[in-house]
């Protein structure tokens, strides 16, 4: 169990580093998918098979397909790679690196002071997850639903085009 965890963790780590350093957007997204799949393996072996399945269905299977879809529509040319390499200058790295370093120090400190009591591993099935989702966390779920609804309505409003009438022979002016 432990070996699988460490392998999945290393895969997730390497893939995430590759996401940040790739210049080609689609390649970066592919590494992000690998990273998500590795995290899903970690969820599965830590007793949350339902969350692992949802991670693959929702994140890897739906959201990132839409990301790839959007990048395909943008059809970035060869120039975008050059522009990306400008963004990877050391100046841009300093602040996030310092912030991450603080977090890493905290993490190491927590691990050193950890008293070694083993966390009990318990498999949590779909029923238990849904009972807490629609029981104790009802309000949060409903609020998230409303937020998503607002997003959908907004996207529809922005994407809606004025209805244009075309005649087969008399093409009306598009801007009128």
């Amino acid at each position: 169990m432990n070996i699988i965890f460490y392998i999945a963790a290393i895969v997730a780590f390497v893939a995430t580093v590759m996401v940040v350093t790739r210049k080609n957007a689609v390649h970066a997204l592919l590494y992000l998918i690998v990273s998500l799949l590795a995290v899903s393996v970690i969820f599965f072996i830590s007793g949350a098979p339902f969350v692992a399945a949802l991670e693959v269905i929702v994140y890897a299977g739906a959201i990132l397909v839409l990301f790839v879809f959007a990048i395909m529509m943008l059809n970035l040319g060869a120039n975008s790679g050059k522009e990306e390499s400008k963004l990877l200058k050391p100046n841009a790295w300093i602040t996030p690196a310092i912030l991450s370093l603080i977090l890493l120090c905290e993490l190491v400190y927590v691990f050193i002071n950890y008293d070694g009591a083993s966390v009990e591993l318990r498999v949590i099935g779909p029923q238990e997850v849904s009972q807490s989702l629609f029981g104790g966390y009802m309000l949060a779920v409903e609020l998230t639903g409303m937020l998503l609804m607002a997003g959908v309505v907004g996207a529809y409003h922005i994407g809606k085009e004025k209805k244009r009438e075309y005649h087969r022979y008399l093409q009306t002016n598009e801007n009128s």
Binding site: L30, I33, P49, V56, A60, V65, M72
Partner: protein, 318 residues
């Protein structure tokens, strides 16, 4: 030791069995299409042309495997492997008979949905990596179609899950001992069937590869065995969806006891495979906007209504 050996035997058996069935479908499809269209079909290689599969395989293996210079090479090579991998992974949760299953996961159905949603990448990436406008159009159609139809596919299965109270495939089959779920879940069955055709992008929903408009769409740049992977992947997909329909709605291996359970399973599975072929012979391709509006405006409300009613009935009986 013995258990491990049995497990390995099951894995090898399922792998070889499914790939052989998928390859054999090349012949079955051509022959059955010919029967339904009153033609002879393949009849030159061997008796009734049954060695046609072999001839096709030899041909596809010996073709030049050409990678065009303008493609994104790494992604171009990865794309066809994804569909084979994701579909073969899905077969690991299919119970062919009591005990004959590779992994009896308690989230079996969700695993199937997860793997089928990963299958969408194969079209998207193949279309993008080919660096060709027709392939890109095919890839975009494929992505939109698969994401949309996954929604109804998942929702249509929830009726079954509510009735059984479990995502486990063996539990789902055992719950159908009295009555197959096709009767109480008829709406779910029809929606799953339609979504299954769209997920495997078979005719009449083969718009990502519509040869008359997009010259084979996402796989126009592929040749040799890489094209073969898409081809076999499609037939594997048909086999998988037929297996899932058999398990979820037609009682899996259950049947009168004069035949062994695995035979009942295979009979039901092949009946649905033939139905898929008949669909191809009988129906015309819809327009792309018709496909999308049919999905979102008709199937989605129906699937939601089905979940609502099933939930209410189960709750009132409890």
């Amino acid at each position: 030791m013995n258990e491990i050996l049995v497990q390995i035997l099951i894995i090898v058996g399922v792998l070889l069995g499914t790939v052989t069935i998928a390859a054999g479908l090349i012949y079955v499809e051509r022959k059955m299409l010919a029967v339904w269209q009153q033609r002879s079909g393949p009849n030159r290689v061997g008796p009734f042309g049954i060695f046609q599969v072999l001839a096709d395989m030899v041909k596809i293996f010996f073709k030049e495997d050409w990678i065009p210079p303008f493609v994104d090479k790494k992604v171009f090579i990865i794309a066809p492997t994804i569909i084979m991998l994701s579909i073969l992974m899905s077969f690991s949760i299919v119970p062919f008979a009591p005990g004959i299953v590779i992994a009896d996961l308690n989230i079996g159905l969700l695993f199937f949905l997860a793997m089928s949603s990963l299958g969408a990448y194969t079209i998207v990436l193949a279309g993008w990596a080919s660096n060709n406008k027709y392939s890109l159009l095919g890839g975009m159609r494929g992505a939109a179609q698969m994401i949309s139809y996954e929604v109804f596919m998942g929702l249509s299965l929830m009726g079954v899950v509510i009735q059984v109270g479990s995502f486990n495939m063996t539990d789902i089959v055992n719950a159908q001992k009295g009555l197959w779920f096709v009767v109480p879940q008829f709406v779910g069955f029809v929606i799953f069937l339609i979504a299954g055709v769209a997920e495997t992008h078979r005719l009449p929903f083969d718009l990502p590869e519509a040869e008359s408009e997009l010259i084979a769409g996402f796989h126009s740049e592929y040749s040799g065995m890489k094209f073969g992977m898409f081809f076999v992947g499609e037939y594997l997909g048909i086999t998988l969806v037929s297996c899932m329909i058999t398990i979820l709605f037609f009682g899996g291996w259950l049947g009168p006891s004069f035949l062994p359970p695995i035979v009942w399973f295979l009979i039901k599975m092949f009946a649905f495979i033939l139905f898929f072929v008949l669909l191809r012979a009988a129906l015309a391709r819809p327009r792309y906007d018709q496909l999308m509006s049919f999905g979102w405006k008709l199937l989605l409300p129906l699937a939601l209504l089905n979940v609502l009613i099933t939930g209410a009935v189960v709750l009132s009986n409890a």
